[in-house]
Amino acid sequence: MAGSPSRHETGPGVTGEDIPQSSRTTGFTGWLDARLPVISAFRNEYVSFPMPRSLNALWTVGAMLTVVLVLMLLSGLALAMNYTPTAAGAFASVEAIERRLPAGWLLRSMHMTGASLFLAALYVHLFRGLYYGSYKAPREVLWLVGVALLAMVMVTAFAGYVLPWGQMSYWGADVAGKAIGAVPGVGPFMERLFLGGDQPGDTTLHHLFVLHFTLAFGVLGVVGIHVAALHVAGPGNPTGVPAKVPEQTLPFHPYFTVKDGLGLVVFAILFAGVMFFLPGLITEPENYRPANPLHTPADIEPEWYFLPFYGILQSIPSKFGGLLASVGAILVLFITPWLDTSPIRSARNRPVYRAGMVALVIAFILLGFAGKHHVEGVWLYVGQIATLYYYLHFLVLMPLVSRREKAALAHASALRTGEEA
């Protein structure tokens, strides 16, 4: 295998041919494969799965996310077995996990670091997709499933943060309840339904524990759909030109096994560095105080990964408007494939869109800082300008650049046919 890049015999996604081909295998494996083609699927979808050879390091983030998801499920299961989802018992049970459960401190730091780095990797994955046009035909469904995953992961992360029932947990649930309550009409009813009373309590904790648990496995299932959709069209690539001919692809194994493996180890080093030596980066001391309904913390602030959306929420002067704008910031991602209709895929070949993407990343980061500073003083204007740009990027820049690029392409091809004639 280490010799010349071996060419795969089958094309991508030609699953129809698997069964006759695999029936050549004899013995138990052949018998099994004729009935449940796991062995040929392993060969076709992993070992010899054609990957564009031009993929850069950003394409290893998907593997990181998969591994962290598994880590989260396993550590989460172990934590859930030792957790008490009641307002009176939650904080003490988490303290008992950290202090007395064997390796409990390790499980909990893994789960907390995992949550933070999962969201971090997810944002890198998202902006990589936006930059290289990963949402364009024929990968729209792959993209939609991915954005749905982002939304599910965000809800799961929020629900999980409430479970330890510290001060930030409690007051975070309180803010979320008030945000739901700001919806006109059904808001107050929904707020009571979510909180199970006038303020966060036992019922809230039950709701969020079940939600956290269920969504975590939901995410696992939807990741399966995400990967299945990926295997229909194959991964995109940084050039934006589909790697159709075999010379432009390499079999997944061993080339991408080792590349993803290296990416995973680099990620694991970062993970271990934060978890073992710098946990202060991802923990909030205030949340080690037990929830106290009578004492509002002076500074209620969500985890860093929600700060950009918290920034949007606060930048809009109206409560409901802010809620709409911050939820809309996710919703607009769902329609991205139909906002950007340019046939040119990668931002590498789209100078205007590329500049727009750089601005979008800057706006997203600035929104995070604005959220952190509660849009006070100059941060209000920064937050409002960044919010405005965020929406302009999707709703104006994308369609506009697409139109210009399509016109330019039509012009160029007209010139070419003219020359040929």
Binding site: A2, G3, S4, P5, R53, A92, E95, A96, E98, R99, R100, W105, L106, S109, L250, P254, Y255, V258, K259, G261, L262, V265, V266, A268, I269, A272, G273, M275, F276, F277, L278, P279, G280, L281, I282, P285, E286, Y288, R289, L294, H295, T296, P297, A298, D299, E301, W304, K372, H373
Partner: protein
């Protein structure tokens, strides 16, 4: 995600609500927001500082003596169990002896009065009545389970508070029930000066000066807040060595495999 100056200041006020005897803590908190109303806290060198820190267990044990004889009269530490004390280097038998010397509530006795029994290693540290809010009008002292972690300014500030008492400067009179302390929010604190020279007898013969007691009890509080800190650092070093070694191997392997691709 460093704690911003704004947040530390805001959190200070929160603590002030707990510490000052100005009545409603909610009323006191927002009033002082945004200013640092105490002397700057000098940084101390601690054995547990930094990403590779470890606990000086002798100091943790001396600190426990101070905690047991002085702090625990008013402060609770409800999430720590007697059995956890093995983590600071005590044997199971020593822990058993310490636990047995504490009496904890045990339902109602046959005479109809609340009964007491000797604690075991599985029992939590008992919370004194004042920390349970059972003494009317008294300021409730904060629980110390995680105090070194949640207290604004951390161990440096706790050490500073414990050694920061003194006569108020001319013209300054703390409100009734408060004590002048230049490191407390508003330079006044409800906690009476807890430490003094020779307030405890150290079994290991260390001279019990106020500074020594403050240093030891702060180390103990830091240990109680993060009892697995040393474990975490030790495991981290091993995991890092393994991962870096694996990373180098994979890097070489990747280079070799991909060498004939381009």
């Amino acid at each position: 995600m460093k704690i911003s100056l704004f947040r530390s200041a805001a959190a200070l006020c929160l603590a002030a609500g707990l510490l000052s005897a100005t009545g409603s803590s909610e009323a006191a908190a927002p009033a002082a927001a945004g200013r640092l109303d105490h002397d700057p806290v000098p940084h101390q060198h601690w054995s547990f500082d930094g990403p590779l820190g470890n606990f000086d267990l002798a100091s943790v044990q001396r600190g426990y003596t101070v905690y047991a004889e002085i702090c625990s009269a008013c402060h609770g530490m409800q999430h720590v169990h007697f059995g956890d004390l093995t983590g600071m280097g005590l044997t199971a038998a020593q822990v058993q002896t310490i636990a047995a010397s504490h009496k904890i509530p045990d339902g109602i006795g046959s005479d109809g009065k609340p009964a007491l029994r000797a604690a075991t290693a599985d029992d939590a540290f008992p919370t004194p009545p004042v920390a349970q809010g059972l003494i009317p009008g008294a300021v409730i002292p904060p629980d110390q389970s995680r105090l070194a972690e949640v207290y604004p300014g951390g161990p440096d500030r706790i050490y500073a508070l414990l050694t920061g008492y003194g006569p108020p400067p001319a013209g300054v009179t703390p409100a009734p029930g408060l004590f002048y302390n230049r490191f407390a929010q508003g330079r006044a604190i409800a906690m009476p000066p807890p430490l003094s020279d020779d307030a405890v007898d150290y079994p290991d013969g260390t001279k019990a000066t106020t500074e020594q007691e403050a240093r030891d009890v702060t180390t103990f509080l830091a240990w109680a807040a993060q009892p697995h800190l040393a474990d975490r650092h030790r495991t981290g070093v091993r995991v890092m060595i393994y991962l870096v070694f694996l990373g180098v191997l994979l890097f070489v392997l990747k280079r070799r495999l991909w060498s004939n691709v381009h």
